[in-house]
Amino acid sequence: MTSDIYNPLYVDFDYYTDHLEEEDALYKKIRSNSEKISDIVFDENTPTIIKSICQRFTLTDQQSALLSRLIRKILVAEVFIGDLIKELQGQLDLPPSKAQELADALAAELFAPAKDELKELHAKTFGGQQPKQEGNVLNLKT
């Protein structure tokens, strides 16, 4: 078993080897969420979907690893989904239009099966928080 830059669970494999408590906490969070969300995390197809998106958007390995980590954080509600585009711009250093397109792709291809659960989770976790950046808004309706 090694780290996998396209797997949200194993992208930080080495880090968690030295931080077992954090890894336990992560599993606890995943297991406490709705099953549709944990299915996305544990599904063996998830790394394949992410890899496909990364290749389509010509992301580097480093950007790919950052994207996998960001996906994990959204799935466990550590990052507000409304800030996804802004995070993509900032962390992956993408132009706004490309970040918007990438966010839309993620919503459509990865988050779609659990969109309601994600809305509910984020509403519960972040309350009435508004996206930090107006205009470019992630479309979870598709």
Binding site: F13, T17, L20, E35, S38, F42, D43, E44
Partner: protein
Amino acid sequence: MLLIAPLHSAQAIGLTLSVALTLTAVGLAVKYIGGFIFKALMSLVEMLLQLLSYMPDVIHKIWEIVRDIVNLTFILILIIMAFGTIFQVKEYTYKEMFGPFLISAILINFSFAIGQYLIDLSNGLAHVFFDTIREATGGDITTIFDFGLSSNVTAAPEATSWAKGFIDYTITAFSEVPTATVLKHASSAVLSALFILVGNFALSVILIFALARWVALWLLMIASPAAWVAYALPGHMKSFWKMWWKAFMGWNFFIPIYAFFLMLLAIILKAKEQTKVTWDDIGTQYLQKHEGAAIAASIFNAFGINEFIFFIITVVFMVGGIYAAWKISSSLGGGAGWVGTGIAGRLPIGLATKGMGKLVSFAGKGMGLVPNARVQRVGQWMQRAGTGIGSIKNVNSGVAAGKALGQAGFEKYWGKRAHEQESKAKEAVLRAGGFKAEAAAERKARINHEKDKYKTKLNNSGLTEIQKQTKVMDEIKRALFHGNADEATLLGQIAAEKGWLKDDVQIRDTLHLAGGTQTELGKELFEALKPHLSQATVDTLFRGASGEDLTNLAQLRAEKGWVQTGSAGETEIRETLRLMGGSGTEDGKKYLKTLDDNDFLNVFKTPDEKLTFADSLGTTDDALKRILYLNAGKNNQLRDRARVNEMLDATKNSSADVRAKALSYSDKAVKNFATTFEDRQLALHQPADDASKAIARSMIDSDEILSEKDFTQMVRVLQNNPTANLTQIADPKALEALTRIEQRHPLLAAELSARRSDPSGYTGSMNAAPAPVRTEFVNKMRAKIMNPNIREDEVFKVSEDTWNMVEYQDLVKEKVASLQQAQGRRRKGDPGDGARFLIRLQRMAPPGSARESAVNTVIASSGININP
């Protein structure tokens, strides 16, 4: 009873007479033998004083050989100068060396003539004083000893033979029958013996110094070409010239200085015949009034009071003159001063003067009983003078006491009022620096008083600060010019307090006038100066200092971090400690503590230099070596195991405090020479030495004892027992390690516990352990592993030997199954906690390691898919 009583009385008288006869016999024997020696010593001293200028031809011949050899070294000096100039080496360039080189090149060839001239000058000066003595005594120089010590009484010159003397005494004693009279004769004989012994001691001291001066000057003359060539050389080599010059001047001028004091004695002794009538008259009156005063009568019998008083004066001048001469000679820097200072502590001068003081005081008491007011006043004064004589420790106080005694005698003879004599005598004593302690205290108080007055006057003068400074500095110069010590001292203190005294020469001269830094006033002045002294000033003062001044300046340099750098600094430290009497003296300890507090600032450029210096000391100065090593330890500068061992060895006999510090420094140093955990593990298993314990303690404190092997080795090291087993843990630190392991590493604790269940404290492979140990091990391991709080890392880090046990692998599988089962229903894709446990173990195992192999065996046989 009536018949027995007279018999007892007769026996008692017989015994008393026997004792008296024995004392008389011994006393007279010593007196006659001592008298013979006295005459012989006097002849020898007279001969030596006549032959002051004697120098054998062979000295000149040897000097020529030395001169020729030394002339050869000039070529070498020229080469050194050439290289020094090419490479611009400070102090070795032609600019700095050529002048002294030229001077020494010329003067070497005249060094004998120069030395001879100075010796002649000194001897000429001595002969001026000797001529005055001869004129005063009308005879030889030693006539003053003869006359002053009353050798006609004490030494019985034409020895009427011991036997004749004894018979005379015995006949006289028995003819006068009463026991008291016989005892009086005995005590007179003993006192006469005592006086001749004191006289002989005084003459011996003179003889020894005169002989030593002869030999010392010959040797110094032979060495003079080498001394002059040292003058041309820079740095420490130049110090040989200074040393030679000081020694030469010291020895050379020792005799004229002493002659000066003898001249004073001769002048005082001129009055002896004039005072005789007066003193003997007082003695007779006293004895008439006090017939039972046996001791006083013995003194008068042996001597007569006039002889007795002048005897004391003579001895004080003879011995005190030697003492003063060596003190003055010492201020010239060496020679007789060195020798004198070296033996000063061993001479019973203090004891002798104390005894004499008591006798004078006693005589004064006796005079107080004479029914004559003037005599009584003189008696009272004599009692005080006795106390003064008792406190004589140097020639100044001796001169003063002598003058006071003499004056009192003359004044009475000349019929003046006794109380005037008393006050004048006392004043003379104080002026001459007599009654030293009293005078020093008075001087200090007087100077402080004058200083306060002067400061007030200065503050009210209306002058500006600059004008005040100019005025004080001018007045210091004037006081120095006139040699006014008190004024220079008080002005110096004011200037120092104000920060005005910055000129090296003025500081040095002011300190010198205050008596150097060793006197109370000098110390006070020095303390006042300290904050204002620059390094350059202290350097200059230090170069020209000697004795206690030098050590005080060295202490200041240590405090300020001004000790020289490199080998010069090392020499300075060593030399200072030598002058302080070694590292063990109070001064030495204080000096070392100061250096340590300042971390030997400026002396060493690198820690290695410090430790190399410490090593170079070998066993010559253990305290210095110890301080150097401890200082390196304190600053975490011990970089290898050998150095740590050296420090621990240097402190093995130190106090508990110092030893505790050394141990703490050694623990801290471990990570300098064993930087990684693996290095420390390796170091722990190396052959045991002092550093091994430091390694063991360091690993315990860093929670690095993680295996049975390291634990066992740690116990063996700490307990100095290479065969100690796990049932023999006794060292407090080892027990602390065991407690830590029980709290933080439960599986290792279980293993150790299982091993300790065997009486031998089983240390072999667990796979080959006796069945009971193995069973105990499995049971204890199971209890720990199945605990829900036990994490993967704990399970993983047991030894490879344990991982290789089938029983242990089964326990891990048991744990994994229980975790997997405890989770209950798993969501799709969730590997489960048991699988995650195995995944983590796999992640922890280094690729290709025995543990990885064991973990994979467990995974394969666990029936759990870690890759769902």
